[in-house]
């Protein structure tokens, strides 16, 4: 890792050396590393870098006579991603910004809590020591400022005092995350947290205090510690000066973390070619093991054999029910606005609840508090924009991101009358305000909305809409306690208008609304034990459907299905415990209490009879807010890690979860008119148990990251329907609903190469997912009550994403996907009925559609990287489905002119080229 060139000086340039020193050099087809040592041999310049950076560079040749070292280096590194910085006789190599992007989080591991390191002196004697400021010799101490911290108190025999503070970027006033704090030049593993706060304890005395943060200038002070105190630091950026930390052993987050989370690199997502040049962070997630979609044009994500309603998708802590546009072809989240995307699919931390399969935790970035900025992209059917502006300089900022599709113009310009009346458009807007109040607190307010409109026939209009709002207030009580107050509200709704020829014109609506209040606290008991605890309260209000006549001629009777209400309350506590250096445990307990509330009526069905309208024995009436039914239970979230070596670990976890709301769909894949139903007297909450075991290994200075994970999951009370059930506007929906069991298991392999000109990953999953609906009554059974493959059971799932950077400006990216075709119910015969032919279907999901595979290629051209340039731009040229594979999305059978015909539909059956222009200012 660390490369320190032994001092092998043949010539000693004794006195003055300077950067102006001219040298002569000659080399042919040499490795860059060799050339650098050649320079080291000739001069007393010393290079600092990581071997792996140079490993992938081409061989170089050069011949220089009396040239400044700077010019040689410019020549050597001009076509690489490396920069250099000359500091006295040290030459420090850095990687350029775009490569940096993925480093910070992984570089120090993902621990967001400040670690307290105790440096207790060996002398345990508590003596009233005079604090001495010793003039220790330090070559760099000439201009170092000395700061006195704390007040010395007589007879205070505390052996240690605490220093805490906040690190801020001088340029944009953003907190500096993950900065490493060095005491007397040594790394005690003290870092600033996600909000730039740090804290440490030291015995009284004098120290060299240094802060190293990636991309920031080195901050160095001499401190004399008398007592507890604060030291805030404002640090400049820009000059990418490399410090000792860079030579520090990198933390292997994937190996060390107890709870494995899947982290999507938002910025890297631009390098993955996608349909119609649209960046899509969540689509990148589907190239990772365990996360898939039902196909092109499939809404929702299936995580580890779970239905798409089992994912909790959070945008700044507010739930987004359907974050996709146009049947899943586009993501409804503006990629410019996203800062972090983490997916928990293995063990879900106790602070999250309410969904069985995963948590997609998406965070928007903070608006700039220093200057006006913008970013935009123009693609073939959509445009994206992000604008950021400071409100109160250095304190608060506001950002707004928007995206829209302009396909309507194309539709309107057509000659076909039917299509002229068609409409297909969507947009999404996200806005955020962030405000810092002093050093201790911060407020963030996010608003989000997305809307899709389309009318396929001239007499119908279909609209669906997501809305989310959240307010988060972070407060730091003291060095050990932090808290967050989160208030959020989310809504999903759809609306259908039908204006046809006969007397049944109608308007139909559905909506679900949830309000969430959460208090989340972190308490650091010691550097080995940390707690996270809190309370969460969610109120759901559902309008399960209403229909109204659209005009006076319509004789549609207005109908309002009884509204539903429920309160989901949970308390949780989790602890991260370092038992030994090797063994770390993250254990959480969540207790959920769910109350279905009135006003409303609930049907009681005769036991021992199939549930039909005829078997209703009693209808119970409930007052407003009266408890109709209570469900409660404990959820366990336990994960452990054992470190064999610093770069090799074993992790195991057990996860139990409840889910109280269910999406109802009588389709094989999710659709925008799926409704959400709250658990009540007749529909029980779903629950799941997941066991997983994984091996994690990093290789070659973390150039390669390998993980192998296995999981086994059991689900109870999963929801399905009787064949041909009607979901919308059904007053007794429980007579159509079936609840049964599910099981899923699989093995996931991920190999990542993170560095070099060629980087990317390979993911392979073998997994199965089965459902079972058993009942004493045949009409309430599917496939005679046996386990059958779920709609998203795709045993083999292979993804390969490879990027190659030719130069700083040109890069190529490829994406290859292979999946087993999803299960399908086929017709197994035909019969004649009233003059027409009809089909008889097989058992549920007995067959499969053909396998899916697709190759996409993209080419990115960046504008030049001159710093002073007003606009930074890049072009993305991509071809989706290069092989022109006609991947069937669905196979269906129709009766036309009295004959049964099999048809298959695909969304993209030919290669789809696109070009997108992106720029920022």
């Amino acid at each position: 890792m660390k490369r320190i060139i032994p001092l092998l000086l043949f010539f000693v340039y004794t006195l003055s050396y300077s950067q102006e020193k001219k040298i002569s050099l000659n080399y042919q087809d040499e490795d860059v590393a060799n050339v650098l040592s050649l320079i080291e041999n000739q001069t007393d310049f010393r290079f600092f870098y990581m071997d792996s950076w140079l490993a992938d560079q081409d061989k170089i040749s050069g011949n220089y006579q009396d040239v400044e070292i700077k010019d040689i280096l410019i020549e050597i590194f001009k076509d690489t991603v490396l920069n250099f910085y000359i500091l006295d006789n040290r030459i420090i190599l850095t990687k350029n910004e775009s490569v940096y992007d993925y480093l910070p989080d992984q570089f120090f591991g993902l621990q967001r809590d400040t670690v307290i390191t105790k440096t207790i002196r060996k002398t345990k004697k508590k003596v009233d020591l005079p604090v001495l400021s010793s003039n220790r010799n330090n070559s760099l101490s000439q201009k170092i400022e000395t700061i006195r911290i704390g007040k010395r108190v007589q007879n205070d025999n505390k052996s240690e005092y605490e220093i805490s503070g906040k690190l801020t970027n001088k340029v944009n006033n953003q907190p500096i995350k993950e900065a490493l704090i060095l005491i007397n030049g040594t790394n005690k593993n003290i870092k600033s947290d996600g909000n730039g706060f740090y804290r440490l304890t030291l015995p009284p005395g004098s120290y060299n205090f240094e802060i190293n943060a990636l991309g920031m200038e080195r901050y160095q002070k001499k401190i004399i510690l008398y007592g507890d105190g604060t030291l805030n630091a404002t640090i400049s950026e820009k000059i990418e000066q490399l410090d000792a930390i860079f030579l520090e052993k990198k933390k292997d987050n994937n190996v060390e973390e107890v709870i494995t989370k899947t982290e999507i690199n938002v910025k890297e997502s631009k390098n993955i070619p996608l349909a119609l040049g649209e960046r899509d962070v969540l689509r990148v997630a589907t190239t990772l093991p365990g996360i898939s979609t039902t196909g092109e044009g499939g809404i929702g994500y299936n995580v580890r054999g779970g239905k798409s309603d089992q994912n909790l998708i959070l945008l700044d802590n507010a739930v987004v029910y359907s974050p996709q546009h146009f049947f899943g072809i586009f993501s409804a989240l503006n990629p410019f606005v996203l800062d972090e995307a983490n997916i928990f699919k293995n063990n879900i931390p106790a602070q999250y609840g309410g969904r069985l399969s995963s948590v997609f935790d998406l965070k928007t970035k903070d608006a700039s508090v220093t200057k006006f900025k913008g970013e935009a992209s123009i693609g073939p059917v959509t445009g994206n924009i992000l604008l950021e502006t400071p409100i109160v300089k250095d304190k608060s900022g506001f950002l707004i991101g928007g995206r829209g599709a302009y396909a309507n113009y194309i539709l309107e310009s057509l000659d076909d009358e039917a299509l002229q009346n068609s409409e297909a458009s969507f947009y999404d807007i996200v806005a955020k305000y962030n405000h810092k109040i002093g050093d201790k607190s911060k407020i963030e307010i996010t608003g989000y909305t997305s809307r899709d409109d389309f009318s396929i026939t001239s007499d119908s209009l279909f609209i669906y809409n997501n809305r989310a709002f959240s307010l988060q207030w972070d407060y730091k009580f003291d060095a050990k306690n932090r808290g967050e107050l989160i208030v959020s509200n989310s809504q999903y709704k759809f609306n259908i208008e039908f204006d046809g020829q006969s007397n049944d014109d109608f308007e139909l609506g559905y909506d679900i609304n949830e309000s969430h209040l959460k208090l989340n606290f972190d308490y650091t008991y010691s550097d080995k034990i940390k707690f996270n605890y809190g309370l969460s309260n969610k109120l759901y209000n559902v309008n399960p459907g209403n229909i109204e006549p659209l005009n006076g001629d319509s004789s549609v009777a207005p109908l309002q299905i009884e509204k539903e209400k429920a309160l989901e309350t949970a308390g949780y506590i989790g602890a991260k415990i370092d038992i030994t250096k090797e063994i770390k445990v993250d254990a959480g307990l969540r207790y959920s209490l769910y109350n279905a509330l009135g006003a409303g009526t609930q049907n009681v069905y005769a036991p021992g009879a199939p549930r039909t309208e005829a078997s209703i024995t009693e209808v119970r009436n409930f007052e407003n807010n009266e408890i109709m039914k209570t469900y409660n239970g404990a959820e366990y979230r336990i994960a452990g890690r054992y470190l064999f070596t610093p770069d090799f670990s074993l992790k195991a976890s057990y996860n139990k979860s409840f889910q109280f709301i269910h999406s109802l769909s009588n389709n094989t894949t999710a659709s925008p008119i799926d409704t959400w139903k709250l658990s009540d007297l007749n529909i029980k909450p779903q629950n799941s148990h997941q066991f997983s075991l994984g091996l994690y290994k990093n290789l070659k200075d973390d150039m390669y990251e390998i993980s192998l994970e296995g999981f086994y999951k059991r689900l109870n009370n999963i929801v399905d329907f009787k064949t041909g059930a009607e979901v919308l506007l059904n007053e007794n929906i429980e007579t159509e609903v079936l609840q049964g069991k599910g099981k899923a298991y699989g093995v996931e392999l991920l190999v990542k190469k993170q560095k070099g000109k060629l980087y990317g990953w390979l993911g392979y999953t073998y997994s199965r997912s089965f459902n079972k609906f058993q009942s004493p009554f045949s009409e309430e059974e599917i496939n005679n009550g046996n386990f059958f493959p779920s709609n998203f059971d795709k045993p083999h799932d292979f993804s390969l994403v490879l990027n190659y950077k030719f130069t700083k400006r040109y890069s190529l990216s490829t994406n290859f996907v292979y999946q087993t075709g999803r299960p399908i119910t086929y017709p197994v015969g035909q019969f004649n009925f009233n003059g027409a032919e009809f089909t008889v279907f097989s058992d549920r999901n007995e067959f499969r559609i053909p396998d899916f595979y697709r190759l996409d290629i993209g080419f990115n051209i960046e504008g030049n990287h001159k710093k002073k340039k007003l606009f930074h731009s890049f072009w993305t040229v991509s071809v989706y489905n290069v092989l022109g594979r006609n991947n069937p999305y669905s196979v269906f059978f129709v009766t036309e002119d009295g004959e049964v015909k099999g048809l298959q539909s695909s969304i993209f059956s030919i290669p789809v080229p696109s070009i997108t222009y992106n720029f920022r200012f």
């Binding site: 809404i299 046809g500 006969s502």
Partner: protein
């Protein structure tokens, strides 16, 4: 109460594909899917609709067949019995393979319970659930109106109004029998007859039968058409289109008649037909309705695991017939175009005159073409000069029957 809305309309494949073509630049596609590894299940299919109209009721028994198979397979030799309130029994006899008719005329009575039982030739016994007959129904009126359908085609729509002041009907199924008149466009009074005597062909003229000029064709609907009024304030059906005929269809070339049948069904029977319909109509591309086996109300007594296709449907029936002429509605719109291309046989270079005459005689006797014009052939050795047209242009019996049906009114 269940109400089925026309939501599937929004997601119909055809239209959506167009949108996708535009939106995504012609990337999507729907094409025939050839499934090669399908297997066939051989199941009993029961098609039994009995109504309150007193007549010989009908039950059809068949078997499911593979997709390759063209000919239906009927279940013959079965014994069928319908019980009314477990008291009265109506027996059936097989009048043609798979088609069973009640021996006596009967109609179902409102509020009474009916049960169908079938014993097949191999001894398997099947029984339906007990079904209660719904109340009687009536049609307010049926009328024809010039209209443009959803695909933008102009033609004639057959509409219906119905009203049940008691509000008990709610679940309606429609079906019809249409009859149309065909008038041959190129009918000529004199026909050419060819008689072969030994090796010689003798041509003669004769008068063409008048019946070949005007015919009547009757056919049944082959779709399931369902309406329900459970979501409406009144049990009223207004301007419901039962059938649509494009202006240039042969059916509306002259005079047309339709017998519209309105069945009032039970909820479960309505659901069965509706599911059947949903599974066979054009699908939505993005989300496919979960198909599966549609369980009816007939079960095997011997083997509860055996699947039985079909439904014992006890309905009330109301019928209404209307007549109209093309000129009443469709004046000025394009008419049906007969394909009456003239065909004039010529003697081949190596063909003798006699061989040519024999060929002509064969053409006449094959009755695929009809003579339109010919020069009188006096000379028995002369070369005939004959103009043929397709048979339909000169003889409508290829399509219909010459006698008007009993109900026909000019």
């Amino acid at each position: 109460m269940k109400k089925r809305y026309n939501i599937a309309e929004f997601f119909k494949a055809n239209r959506l594909v167009y949108i996708l073509f535009v939106f995504l630049g012609l990337y999507g596609c729907t094409e025939p899917f050839i499934a090669d590894d399908l297997f066939t299940e051989d199941l009993l299919v029961v098609n039994a609709t009995i109504s309150d109209q007193v007549r010989k009721q009908e039950v059809i028994l068949s078997r499911t067949i593979g997709f390759e198979a063209d000919t239906p397979v009927f279940e013959t030799g079965a014994t069928i019995l319908i019980k009314e309130d477990s008291l009265t029994e109506y027996t059936f006899e097989e009048i043609e393979p798979g088609v069973y008719k009640s021996i006596q005329d009967f109609g179902v009575n409102e509020g009474k319970e009916y049960e169908l039982s079938i014993t097949t030739q191999n001894g398997m016994i099947y029984k339906s659930e007990k079904v209660i007959a719904p109340g009687p129904t009536s049609i307010e009126n049926v009328y024809a109106k010039r209209t443009i359908n959803d695909e933008g085609v102009e033609g004639i729509g057959i509409f219906l109004n119905s009203f049940d002041p008691l509000g008990n009907s709610m679940y309606y199924r429609y079906d019809f029998e249409e009859t149309y008149q065909i008038i041959t466009p190129l009918w000529i009074a004199t026909d050419l007859i060819a008689t072969v005597q030994g090796n010689e062909v003798i041509f003669d003229t004769a008068s063409r039968p008048e019946e070949e000029q005007v015919c009547y064709k009757t056919q049944r609907s082959n779709r399931i058409s369902l309406v329900n009024t459970s979501g409406l304030i009144e049990d009223r059906i207004e301007d419901q289109m039962v059938n649509f005929i494009p202006a240039d269809d042969i059916r509306v070339e002259n005079r047309y008649s339709i017998l519209v049948k309105q069945y009032v069904q039970t909820l479960s029977s309505h659901s069965f037909y509706n599911t059947l319909n949903e599974f066979s109509s054009s699908e939505n591309i993005f989300s496919q309705i979960q198909p599966g086996f549609i369980t009816g109300n007939i079960k095997s007594v011997n083997n509860p695991d055996e699947k039985v296709v079909g439904f014992f449907d006890v309905s009330s029936l109301a019928e209404e017939r209307i007549f109209f002429n093309r000129k009443d509605f469709l004046e000025g719109l394009p008419k049906f175009e007969y394909d009456c291309e003239e065909f004039i046989p010529e003697r081949g270079r190596l063909e003798s005159v006699n061989e040519f005459r024999i060929r002509i005689a064969t053409l006449i006797r094959n009755n695929r073409l009809r003579v339109l014009r010919f020069t009188p052939i006096i000379n028995p050795d002369g070369e005939p000069n004959i103009v043929f047209v397709p048979r339909l242009c000169g003889d409508c019996t290829i399509l219909g029957k010459p006698e008007p049906p009993d109900f026909w009114i000019e």
